[in-house]
Structure formats: structure tokens, C-alpha cells
């Protein structure tokens, strides 16, 4: 009836050829995309810039991340990344139960400021039960308590030319031949002033544990876990991220991850 007479052997042979072609295709022809300075990769990375710009246009500056009910806290907050920094500076602070800890606000501000942990705890607090999404794919719901970063930035009076907050941390996320590589992250001022962006000192109604970033961890709730720097000691207002680390705005962005981290 139809023009194509199916020969079973030919049919099976062609199917097998197509199948093996599919398996072989994956291998390692595309490993060059893993090279961080590859030109093709640079083109593909522009999609992350597009994502950032579209999400910023689409999503209101004040739009909140979902907050959950207490019954949805079903487990402890899973620690990841650094869980016990080994730098001498941090060890000394920790030994004194962070009595000597100071959070410094510096850079493009009218007034550089610093706060003790007690001062931060005595400021108006905000608690929120939110979902922490790790870039690896897992999620965990926990209650975070802290001081709104926006209120602190207002006290220091951010200069109009400032565009980013850089969060400097105590933890040595990586040790290289040149010495410790310390964790750092950054955000734009939209995320810094967001109503849910807090300098968290409490987790699930307890003092923030070392594994989760004691004494202070930044929560930026509309972004992935690597945008929530732990063990923060200094917040620097800048108009350019290139002088820090490898210049991509954070430890993980320096390692090839997207800077925005909202997807």
C-alpha cells in the first residue's frame, strides 16, 4: 500500500545506529564550555545577565519571598560550604563567644560605622520563616531572626554613587598555595535594601550556630544559598566589583557560577 516497504532487519539496524549515535554524542565534545575564559562560554553566560535584568524588571523591588508557617520547620537548617572556619582571627572571636565581634560598614558611605553583636541584637528585629534553596538543588525551611540591613545602611547614609554591597567573611572556604581564600559575596542595592534582607543572628529561635554562620549571616531571601554569606564581618559599599577576588563579585561567581543567583 505505501511506498516504503519496511525491512525488519534494516529497521532494527537503523534504530541501533540512531541509538548509539545518541549515546556517543554526549561524551566530552562540549567540555571546552567548562573553561572559564572560553569565548563560547562567555556568549552563553550572557543568558544570566538577561535573567538578572528580566527578573529585576519583572519583580518589584519590595516583592517578598514566601514566608512559611512554623509547622513547616520540620528539621534543622542543613549547613553547607564552610561549617567551621579555621582562621586564627575567627577562632579567637569564637573562643570569646563573639564578645569582641564588630560588624563594619565602610566604603561609599557618609559615615563609616561598626556595631557589636549586642548593638545589632538591640536594634528592631525581624523574624521570617523562609525556604533556603541551595544551588545544588535541595531546599530547607528555617526561621531566621536579625536586623534589617536597609536600616543599618540608612544609618551609615549610602552615597549615591554606590551600586553594590560587598560582604566580607571570616571563613577560609578554600586553601591554596598562596594561602587562605576567604569567602565573599556581593549584591546590588535592591537586594541589600529588600525588606527581608537581614543580618541574621538567630536561627530557629536559637543563637545562630557556627555551622550556619555565627555570629552574623546575611539573608537575601530571593536568591540561592551561595548569596547568603556566613561569618560576615564587613559590608563595603562600592561602585565596582572588579577589585575583589577574581573580580566576579563573589567566591562562587569567581568559580563560574552566575552572580545574580536568583534562579
Amino acid at each position: 500500500m505505501n511506498g516504503f516497504k519496511l525491512n525488519r532487519r534494516k529497521f532494527l539496524g537503523m534504530s541501533a545506529a540512531a541509538g548509539s549515535g545518541l549515546i556517543l554524542s554526549g561524551c566530552d565534545q562540549f567540555d571546552f564550555l567548562g573553561q572559564r575564559d572560553n569565548q563560547v562560554r562567555a556568549v552563553l553566560e550572557q543568558a544570566n545577565v538577561l535573567t538578572y535584568q528580566v527578573q529585576r524588571k519583572l519583580i518589584g523591588e519590595q516583592t517578598l519571598a514566601r514566608e512559611y508557617s512554623p509547622s513547616e520547620i520540620r528539621q534543622g537548617q542543613r549547613p553547607n560550604g564552610s561549617t567551621n572556619p579555621s582562621t586564627a582571627e575567627y577562632a579567637a572571636l569564637r573562643a570569646a563567644d563573639f564578645a569582641n565581634y564588630r560588624l563594619t560598614i565602610k566604603g561609599m558611605v557618609e559615615q563609616e560605622m561598626s556595631f557589636s553583636l549586642a548593638e545589632l541584637r538591640n536594634m528592631p528585629a525581624r523574624s521570617q520563616i523562609t525556604r533556603h534553596d541551595c544551588v545544588e538543588g535541595w531546599s530547607c525551611i528555617a526561621k531566621w531572626t536579625g536586623t534589617r540591613l536597609g536600616a543599618i545602611l540608612d544609618m551609615a547614609r549610602v552615597k549615591p554613587e554606590a551600586r553594590f554591597c560587598v560582604y566580607h567573611c571570616y571563613d577560609n572556604i578554600q586553601t591554596s598555595l598562596a594561602g587562605d581564600i576567604l569567602y565573599y559575596e556581593s549584591s546590588d542595592l535592591v537586594d541589600a535594601y529588600h525588606p527581608q534582607t537581614i543580618l541574621a543572628y538567630g536561627l530557629n529561635d536559637q543563637t545562630l550556630p557556627v555551622a550556619n554562620g555565627a555570629p552574623i549571616r546575611v539573608r537575601i531571601e530571593r536568591a540561592l544559598g551561595y548569596k547568603q554569606p556566613k561569618y560576615v564581618h564587613t559590608i563595603e559599599l562600592v561602585d565596582d566589583l572588579s577589585p575583589f577576588g577574581q573580580g566576579k563579585g563573589g567566591y562562587w561567581p569567581d568559580n563560574g557560577y552566575d552572580w545574580y543567583g536568583g534562579i
Partner: protein, 281 residues
């Protein structure tokens, strides 16, 4: 021009696929290839799927876990689905040669890059995700205007009635090459364009914490971020299944004719197909 009513000889060469259909087809093919392989790379960063908002570390809401375990007989790859554990050494959880075993959920042969690199997997995935969605937009617009959706995709009453006969014909590998698609073709393309494609995009967006703030209803529609991730994975499997059947059907129905129609637009219809204006002999 003679009207071909006989069962012998060649049917007419008809212009079957518009330029919009052809271009979007191949762009999608490339996108889905990269999305699949980079998606498996991303999955390997945390090779477990859950139901609900969060991932149970201190409780169990996992529906799938892939990993490697140490046994008396050495390391083995293991896959647990709905609490039932299977040994998947060589494919899932552990692959590669005995001398150089690779402990990733999906083997390097089906991930981009072939080694563990979540950052690059994400770069590739989001680039092709954007291209995929943009192409979807173009396809829906063009296919709505040129009638492709109405003519070839949306199954009508007659198509539904014709399903049993079409199943019987497919089982005998007996195909009718008509001007428009057959009942099973319509049903499968309808499922892909109107169910699977929107689902995989929306579940993908539901995993974005940024999107969650502007569209929190997506979290409710899909039953939580981790459920959305699970659905994203299941839809991936369904699309892979569609791809395999698609290729088998192309091979069975005549790969030359099928490929020609998706490259040039021209398709050799079955003998007896009523002639229409614009046909070539």
C-alpha cells in the same frame, strides 16, 4: 494534471511544513539536546528528588535517590525509587571502568561537561532555556496564524474516533502519508506542545527563588519547590520517551521523506492523496 486515485505509483509531492515549523523544529532539537545533558549535570549535584517544599534530611520525603554504596563486594551504584532499591552499577550511581570508576548519578557520557561541573551545567542550561522559550513563543504565534495548530495539532472528534484504527495501523507499521497528521500524531504533538513544553518551563521557573516572589502561586500549583523539581525531571523523561518514539517513527515511516519534509517542507504523500493546488507531481 491527472487526479491520482489509483493505489499504484507515487503520490503527489506536497508542501507540508512551513518555514516556521521547520526552523523551530531544529532549534528545539538543538535546545533539547543541550538542556537534557546540562540538566543531568545539574541533577548530579544533588541526585535526589522529593515531594513538598523542602528536601527531607531529618525526615523522608524522597521519591528517588541515586548514589553509590560500599558493600562487601566493593562499591556499587544504587537507585532507590519510592523506597525500593535497585542495583544500577554501570549506569546510575557508579559507572566507568573497574579501574577508573566514576561516582556520579548519571554517567559523564550523558552530561555536559562530562566531568562534574555544576556551574557550567547551569550556564548551558539557562542559555538554551532562554532560546527554547523564545522559540516556543515564535512557534505558538506562527502556528496559530498559519493554521498549523488548528489543522495539525488540536485533535478533533474524528481524530479521537480514528485512534483505534490508527493504533492498529501503527502496530503493523502501515502508515498513511496524508496532507495533515494522523490521530496519534496529533495527540502526541498536542501533548508535547500544550502539556509537556509548558509544564517543563513552568516547573523550571518554580525552582527560581526570584520567580517565587513574583509568582508564588506556582509553588501552590505544583505542590512546592521540590515537587516542581520532581515534575521537571519526570517531564524530562516523558520528552526523552517522545524523542525515542519520534525517531523510531521517522525511521519506520521513511526517513528520507520525513527528513526532506522537515528540511525543505516538501513531503511525498501516499498514492491516492487527492491533488491540491501547489502540489508537485
Amino acid at each position: 494534471m491527472t487526479e491520482q486515485t489509483g493505489q499504484k505509483g507515487k503520490g503527489p509531492l506536497i508542501y507540508r511544513q512551513s518555514i516556521w515549523t521547520r526552523v523551530t523544529h531544529w532549534v528545539w532539537a538543538i535546545c533539547l539536546f543541550f538542556l537534557l545533558l546540562s540538566g543531568l549535570q545539574i541533577f548530579n549535584a544533588h541526585p535526589a528528588l522529593y515531594v513538598g517544599q523542602q528536601s527531607g534530611f531529618e525526615f523522608d520525603n524522597a521519591v528517588l535517590e541515586i548514589g553509590a554504596v560500599n558493600t562487601d563486594a566493593g562499591a556499587r551504584g544504587q537507585t532507590t525509587i519510592f523506597g525500593r532499591t535497585f542495583d544500577t552499577t554501570g549506569v546510575l550511581g557508579m559507572s566507568g571502568s573497574a579501574e577508573r570508576p566514576q561516582f556520579t548519578a548519571f554517567p559523564g557520557a550523558v552530561t555536559i561537561p562530562s566531568y562534574r561541573d555544576l556551574a557550567t551545567g547551569r550556564v548551558v542550561h539557562f542559555f538554551f532555556g532562554w532560546v527554547f522559550v523564545f522559540t516556543m513563543f515564535i512557534w505558538f504565534l506562527a502556528s496559530f496564524i498559519n493554521g498549523h495548530i488548528r489543522r495539525d495539532i488540536v485533535p478533533l472528534g474524528a481524530d479521537i474516533k480514528g485512534v483505534p484504527q490508527d493504533v492498529a495501523n501503527h502496530a503493523r507499521l502501515r502508515f498513511h502519508h496524508g496532507r495533515s497528521y494522523g490521530p496519534l500524531q496529533k495527540l502526541s504533538y498536542f501533548a508535547v506542545f500544550f502539556i509537556l513544553f509548558p509544564l517543563i518551563v513552568l516547573t523550571g521557573l518554580t525552582m527560581s527563588p526570584g520567580m517565587n516572589s513574583i509568582a508564588p502561586f506556582l509553588l501552590d500549583v505544583f505542590g512546592g519547590r521540590q515537587t516542581a523539581r520532581t515534575i521537571h525531571f519526570v517531564v524530562m523523561l516523558l520528552l526523552v520517551g517522545f524523542f525515542i518514539v519520534h525517531i523510531v517513527m521517522v525511521l519506520a515511516a521513511g526517513p528520507f521523506n520525513e527528513l526532506r519534509s522537515m528540511i525543505t517542507g516538501w513531503y511525498r504523500a501516499s498514492p491516492g492523496t487527492p491533488a491540491s493546488q501547489g502540489d508537485k507531481p
